[in-house]
């Protein structure tokens, strides 16, 4: 090959390699193309696991001009990030389901205390607000909802104890608390309702003896229900109602008592004052009528299926009314400290 041809070849190869660099240049620019901060406004870093978070951050940014950086992840990786970076945190607010995680962060001094938004709580909201106001509830789902196929199950169980009856042997499925964030509050709620950890352990051991099947998260548990592997699924209410919207043969029932699982926002105690002020504005916006509209429309078959915590906001029509349903709250500060040990027990004694 002559020198010119060789150089041409090399040019071609260099061009091919350059495609990659250009691509990254493109995506780097896209990563920095979030609307520039206006004078006096710092970017608000939002860590969120909510299905409607992107719609909400866009609406908030549009309404206030405050630039938002969204880290949209599952709850587990978000908490791992916060714990691993707690010496030098760079998040502004955290928005996930479950009060026990917030209680754990609060006990480590990672949350700003004392912020109270100017709203009127309904009964669910009042039951979910912590005494030190270290986090703010934004909605409530229930743990666990009983989901079943009404064409196959004519007489579903009416109490938690009836799940132990032989007719449900090998027919019940639930999630693994080490993979499904909302499941620990359910286990803790059952233990609280039954009188303590030992009684709760006894109950779940009996349930295992009756053939309880554990799946990782809501999705696989519901899939096991629709495929016929199980007849009763114990999942988060929003997941169960979402499944009902996709398959009219399914229905949701609440057994007494059912545990409240608030979705909540906590503000980073070490964030700069300007970012903390913006985080408070974000919470106010979320709980405002405009914000509630975004929450209810941002993920219509998923996280939008929540029970509101502020007055004058009605739940979506798909949600079963809570009239006559007995709900309970667990003390997240008491049960949060037990989460690791109970999850470990559940993993070694029930899952295995």
């Amino acid at each position: 090959m002559n020198r010119t041809a060789w150089h041409r070849r090399m040019l071609g190869i260099t061009a091919l390699m350059g495609v990659g660099a250009l691509a990254v240049a493109g995506c780097s620019s896209s990563s920095t193309s979030a609307s520039p901060a206006k004078p006096g406004k710092v970017p608000l870093v939002v860590y969120s696991a909510q299905g409607y978070d992107k719609a909400m951050t866009q609406a908030f940014q549009k309404a206030t001009g405050i630039p938002v950086k969204l880290d949209d992840n599952s709850t587990g990786p978000l908490l791992t990030q916060i714990e691993a970076s707690k010496n030098n945190p760079n998040w502004g607010l955290l928005w996930v389901d479950g009060a026990t995680a917030f209680a754990g962060l609060d006990q480590q001094g990672l949350l700003l205390k004392g912020f109270t938004p100017t709203v009127t709580w309904d009964s669910l909201g009042t039951a979910s607000v912590p005494a030190d106001h270290s986090y703010v509830p934004t909605g409530v789902t229930l743990m666990a909802a009983l989901v079943y196929n009404k064409t196959k199950v004519a007489a579903p169980p009416a109490t938690w104890q009836q799940l132990l009856q032989p007719q449900w042997k090998g027919a019940i499925g639930m999630n693994d608390p080490s993979q499904s964030g909302p499941t620990y509050p359910f286990i803790a709620g059952m233990m609280s309702y039954l009188g303590g950890v030992p009684a709760g352990e006894q109950y779940f051991t009996k349930l295992k003896g009756n053939g309880l099947i554990i799946h990782p998260t809501n999705g696989p548990t519901l899939q096991a229900l629709t495929s016929g592997q199980i007849k009763l699924a114990l999942v988060q209410s929003s997941a169960g109602i979402g499944a009902v919207l996709g398959d009219s043969k399914l229905t949701v029932k609440y057994l007494d008592p059912v545990t409240l699982l608030p979705s909540a926002i906590g503000i980073d105690a070490k964030a700069p004052a300007a970012e903390q002020a913006e985080a408070k504005k974000f919470i106010d916006f979320v709980l405002s009528p405009a914000g509630q509209k975004v929450m209810q429309s941002g993920d219509p078959t998923g996280d939008s299926l929540y029970y509101p915590v502020v007055q004058d906001v009605a739940p979506l029509a798909a949600l079963p009314p809570l009239t006559g349903v007995k709900t309970q709250s667990i003390d997240p500060y008491t049960w949060g400290t037990k989460e690791a040990s109970i999850n470990t027990w559940f993993d070694s004694s029930i899952v295995r």
């Binding site: 660099a21 990254v24 990563s31 950086k69 599952s74 990786p77 791992t80 080490s178 592997q229 998923g302």
Partner: protein, 593 residues
């Protein structure tokens, strides 16, 4: 671009035996080369050793990173030798050993058939391997589960085979899936080695009356570095795999070490020291294949690749042999691709959590209507391209270092690279946060955490060990005379490398590039922990759908992602065919014999 030094005269691999240490590795080098090698080591220390060490230190000194009260403790290490944790570690060790062996047993014949025989459809074999490699390991696991689980597809179509369910949903199934995952690594390593192995060795054996079996016995020791590389990578990849551990193994109540480690981190509050202790064991485990590899290869030279390597004549298969070979290869692809493909595609075509067999495109419609569809795809394509470009350069340098004189420095490099493969990505990701988000970094104005730059660095650091392992086979075959000849004819250092060495290694380099690209394109754990807010990569977007009740949309997105990655692979391979000179492509090619 600079490369590690080669002595003017061909390197005698025995020359460095017993010589030790860093000084030996750099002694006598001209200043620019010395500087380049120092810089390379510095980068390895900063981006592989430091994050790994930061995380592993937590096991014995949690207080260093405010994760506990103890400055020094062995409690967490002791815990890994008790109870369910110990069971998980033992399971991981034997399963990974079996999987690496299975990968070799399946991958070697396929590589040989594709490279050295007239196997019908052999051009499709390599493409199929890329597809196997491209699939995240959880996808085949879910596909198999969907098929064999109670009330699964197998039972619905009338196949009442509970023994199949018991076999797949247990240790056998775990070994099978991990072993299938090892096959592409074996294929790549062996294919690269066979490409560099000219026809002259087989001819010499046959001329001297050797049977085909005897000729094979001659060839196997020559490509021993590639075989050992394949086993070492297979073991390390299996021991660090999380996709199978969290799906099939988990649902079979068969606990593996990576799942236990994940449980330690996933619990709230997370036990980073407990996870780090498990990380120590995983790192320690890779010493096993490394020790075996070192013991076997010590003191031998494998330099057979030169500009005079003869084109290979393909062996013509008999009609019966061809049928058997095609059937075997197709069986492999059916098991490795057909089942997971069925799982993913069927999952994306069902609108009701997979409860019925009614097919619908509703998930694809929802996906295409989404305003967030293109951004994550573009980002992951870009991240993959840049990471792969940087990684092949670093991987080649590392492979070159690994194949040079044995010294303490090269042995340390060898261990560090393989140990990094054994560390699960979630450990690597957490290690990056601990190392690069220290308060002192912010004080110095270095805020790398949650930037695109740190994410790409982490992708590169996590890809480089595997990449170097894949390249070490072909690099070990390079004869120093190639470059020496160019230098003798007046070429400068860079020109000599580009004109004499690059042509013979261009194909393996392209393969290594694609290996990294595919790995990064759907990488999840690092992406989840390190991505820059507002810029989610594709894997995070898919996980977002799967975890937010949009299972079908997530599966549709997975199918689309695999299709896009395949198109990118085809583009690169097509580009190589169009752009690379005919002589480059001829190296390692075959003639029909």
């Amino acid at each position: 671009m600079t490369f590690p030094a080669t002595a003017p005269a061909p390197v005698n691999p025995r020359a460095g035996r017993g010589a030790g240490g860093w000084q030996a590795a750099t002694r006598g080098l001209p200043a620019p080369r010395h500087l380049a090698r120092t810089l390379f080591w510095l980068l390895l220390v900063l981006f592989i050793l430091a994050p790994s060490a930061c995380f592993l230190l937590l096991a014995v000194s949690p207080r260093l990173f405010a994760e506990g009260p103890q400055w020094f403790t062995l409690t967490y290490l002791r815990q890994t030798f008790t109870g369910t944790t110990a069971v998980a570690v033992v399971n991981s060790l034997w399963v990974s050993t079996a999987a690496a062996a299975l990968g070799l047993v399946i991958g070697f014949p396929i590589a040989w058939l594709a490279a050295r025989t007239t196997l019908p459809g052999r051009r499709l074999v390599a493409g199929g391997m890329w597809l196997v490699l491209l699939l995240p390991s959880w996808l085949p696991a879910l596909g198999w589960q969907r098929l064999v689980q109670a009330d699964g597809v197998m039972y619905r179509v009338g196949l009442d085979l509970p023994w199949v369910t018991h076999a797949i949903m247990g240790p056998f199934g775990v070994v099978l899936l991990l072993g299938l995952r090892c096959v592409p690594f074996t294929f790549l390593a062996i294919t690269a080695a066979l490409s560099g192995l000219g026809q002259e060795f087989e001819d010499a054996a046959r001329v001297h009356g050797a049977s085909r079996t005897a000729a094979l016995r001659l060839i196997l020791p020559i490509i021993a570095p590639a075989i050992w590389s394949a086993l070492a990578i297979g073991f390390a990849e299996s021991v660090s795999d999380f996709g199978v551990a969290a799906t099939l193994a988990y649902n079979s109540n068969f606990s593996l070490a990576t799942y236990q480690l994940y449980a330690d981190i996933g619990n709230f509050p997370p036990s980073f020291p407990g996870a780090a202790a498990m990380g120590w064991l995983l790192v320690g485990a890779v010493a096993i294949p490394l020790a075996l590899q070192a013991r076997t290869l010590r003191g031998r030279s494998y330099a057979v690749l030169s500009g005079r390597s003869r084109q290979i004549a393909r062996r013509r298969l008999t009609p019966g042999g061809a049928v058997a070979a095609v059937a075997g290869v197709w069986l492999f692809y059916l098991v490795a691709l057909g089942v997971p493909g069925f799982g993913a595609v069927s999952g994306s075509l069902l609108g009701d959590y997979g409860g019925s067999f009614s097919l619908t495109l509703v998930n694809y419609h929802a996906l295409l209507r989404s305003s967030d569809l293109l951004g994550p795809i573009e980002r992951s394509l870009g991240y993959g391209a840049v990471t792969a470009t940087v990684t092949v350069i670093g991987g080649f340098i590392a492979a070159r270092l690994l194949t040079q004189r044995a010294s303490r420095a090269t042995r340390a490099l060898d261990f560090m690279l393989l140990a990094a493969v054994a560390l699960p990505s979630v450990v690597f990701g957490a290690g990056y946060i601990f190392a690069y988000n220290l308060p002192i970094m912010s004080t110095l104005g270095i805020d790398l955490y949650q930037t695109v730059m740190l994410l790409v660095i982490a992708y590169t650091a996590s890809s480089l060990p595997t990449n170097a392992r894949v390249l070490v086979g072909v690099v070990s075959q390079l004869q120093p005379s190639l470059k020496d000849a160019a230098r003798t004819h007046g070429a400068g250092e860079l020109t000599a490398w580009v004109r004499a060495v690059l042509p013979v290694v261009s194909r393996p380099i392209v393969m290594a590039y694609l290996l990294t690209f595919c790995g990064v394109f759907l990488e999840l754990p690092l992406s989840q922990l390190l991505y820059a807010p507002n810029s989610p990569p594709l894997s995070v977007a898919i996980e977002d759908n799967l975890s937010n009740y949009h299972f079908g949309v997530g599966m549709a997105q997975s199918v689309l992602a695999v299709a896009i990655a395949l198109a990118a692979v085809a583009l690169v391979l097509g580009g190589y065919r169009l752009v690379a000179p005919a002589g480059w492509r001829r190296i390692g090619e075959t003639t029909r014999g």
